[in-house]
């Protein structure tokens, strides 16, 4: 019901240039932003819940859940400690609401702050490494699995090799035509195929949106077949 009313309302909103409609858009987008923030909290909460359950039930590998909590507490305390310092600092003048009125941004996130340190020295290297591992696997897959099994796969591999050459200075040095061919491949066949795929994706996503609005698609409510 809510989905239906809001959905229809905002489809109509698009076509109405009146100030009221513009104001409605402004406010509701702001609300969505706020609710989005709360959803972040909820997401974090459910993850904590899962790992807490693991530890409680001593599931195999529960020790690693402990490691997770260690990380969690580490970064939480890096954020909350500066807040507490502001809270209990005697120098704070305006103590209107619990004294932390002055806090609006994330405490400790400024360069050199504790949260920034945790981010730069722990989060940063790990998340960057996660994806770079694939750089290695790519090479082993190139040797053992990327096969020109069919005409289609051959075409794909040839295009890939061209792009790989053209995206480094070497391509242009080998033959000045490579960058041109690459640009043409991207601008013509690639554009055509991707455009048709976009059409398909757009129609699909509108269909899904419509099903949500009309209440016949409820899987997003979670649990599917609970």
């Amino acid at each position: 019901m809510i989905a239906f009313v809001m959905g229809i309302l905002f489809i109509i909103q698009f076509f109405v240039p009146h100030q009221w409609s513009q104001d409605m858009l402004t406010w509701v987008t702001k609300w969505l932003s706020i609710i989005g923030g709360v959803t972040l909290l909820v997401g974090a909460g459910s993850l904590i819940h899962i790992h807490y359950a693991k530890i409680k039930r001593r599931v195999a590998g529960w020790g690693y859940s402990g490691v997770m909590f260690f990380g969690l507490i580490l970064s939480l305390s890096a954020g909350i400690t500066p807040a507490l310092i502001i809270l209990f600092a005697p120098a704070q003048g305006n103590q209107s609401f619990l004294g932390i009125e002055g806090i609006n941004t994330v405490p400790g996130v400024e360069p050199g702050g504790p949260l920034d340190w945790v981010f730069m020295k722990m989060f940063n290297p790990m998340s960057a490494t996660m994806f770079s591992i694939l750089g290695f696997f790519m090479a082993s897959a190139a040797f053992r699995a990327f096969r020109a099994r069919s005409l289609e796969a051959t075409l794909l591999l040839v295009a890939a090799v061209l792009i790989m050459l053209g995206q480094t200075p070497l391509g242009g040095m080998l033959w000045s035509g490579i960058p041109d061919i690459m640009a043409w491949l991207l601008a013509v066949p690639n554009t055509a195929a991707k455009r048709a795929i976009i059409f398909g994706v757009v129609l699909g996503s509108i269909a899904t949106s419509l099903r949500i609005i009309f209440g016949i698609e409820r899987s997003y409510l979670g649990g599917g077949k609970e």
């Binding site: 104001d23 858009l25 402004t26 987008t29 702001k30 969505l32 932003s33 706020i34 609710i35 989005g36 923030g37 959803t39 972040l40 609006n104 941004t105 996130v109 400024e110 360069p111 981010f119 730069m120 989060f123 940063n124 290297p125 998340s127 960057a128 996660m130 994806f131 770079s132 750089g135 290695f136 790519m138 090479a139 082993s140 190139a142 040797f143 053992r144 699995a145 990327f146 096969r147 020109a148 591999l157 090799v161 790989m164 050459l165 995206q167 480094t168 200075p169 070497l170 242009g172 040095m173 000045s176 960058p179 640009a183 991207l186 601008a187 690639n190 554009t191 991707k194 455009r195 976009i198």
Partner: protein, 272 residues
């Protein structure tokens, strides 16, 4: 067990080859100049060069450390060009929490280097979830009442004359995800803003249709294009440095594909 070991052994040998290909060219320096610059990359450079001094430009920095290897060099080069042209730079992100410290780090670094003043020449806004890109089209200061340090935005000189997204002359999104779709779908549709995209190589091909339809003015895709941009701005950085190992690794992978396929063809014909 023996199979598993043999399986892993080939793997490990290849991994060591890759590690060597990645690290040796970092020590042995050899020049690899670009013969041409891709037109799509050049378009963004030209657009910035054509903007009059003091024009406000938004840098939407939508990536976290996972993609920084590719996107950081291009953002550095782009910010450098903006500051050199004395444009007003507004840094923001619609992507997620970890993007803010990355962006702050990058913009501050260049600003410090070029003596730019916070609040006058540039500003950094916090992350807000949800459709801020739409709120911005309506009222910039409702979307961002304060900057990432909680200073109110409206009185800052950097925001002079800006009411909505429509007053921004150019928006460059450095994207590791779908953020550019939001800018194309909402920002461009509603505020008619000119868009440029700097993205990871994984995404690059997906956005060519939008280039042809002029919804995007230009595109910097991946480290190769980033090094081209560094060349345009005439300040070689990590992307240019990275081109040496990149080239060697690409050659290695091409060779591996060829050898692998050769073995494949030979064994297939033997079986027959």
């Amino acid at each position: 067990m023996r199979d598993e070991f043999r399986y892993n052994l080939t793997r490990w040998i290849i991994f060591i080859l890759v590690a060597l290909a990645l690290s040796i060219p970092q020590f042995i320096k050899f020049g690899l100049p670009w013969s041409t610059t891709a037109r799509v990359v050049h378009n963004i450079y030209d657009k910035i060069e054509s903007l009059p001094e003091g024009s406000p430009v938004i840098i939407s920095s939508s990536f976290d450390p996972a993609s920084a290897g590719e996107l950081k060099p291009m953002e550095l080069a782009f910010v450098r060009q903006c500051f050199r042209k004395n444009l007003r730079v507004i840094g923001l992100t619609i992507w997620g929490v970890p993007a803010v410290p990355m962006m702050t780090d990058i913009i501050n670094q260049v600003a410090k280097e070029m003596g730019k003043q916070y609040g006058v020449d540039y500003v950094i806004l916090p992350f807000k979830p949800g459709p801020v890109y739409l709120t911005m089209c309506q009222d910039f200061y409702l979307a961002y009442p304060s900057d990432h340090k909680d200073e109110p935005t409206k009185p800052m000189p950097v925001f002079k004359g800006i009411r909505t997204l429509k007053d921004i002359k150019f928006l460059m999104d450095f994207a590791a995800g779908v953020t550019i779709d939001y800018w194309i779908t909402y920002g461009r549709e509603k505020a008619k803003i000119d868009l440029g995209l700097g993205c990871t190589a994984v995404m690059a091909t997906d956005y060519y249709p939008y280039l042809q339809s002029k919804q995007l003015l230009g595109l910097i895709g991946g480290l190769g294009a980033a090094s081209q941009y560094e060349a345009l701005v005439q300040k070689p950085g990590t992307a240019t440095e990275g081109m040496r190992p990149q080239t060697v690794v690409h050659l290695l992978i091409i060779a591996l594909i060829m050898v692998g396929n050769l073995i494949f063809i030979v064994t297939k014909s033997k079986r027959r």
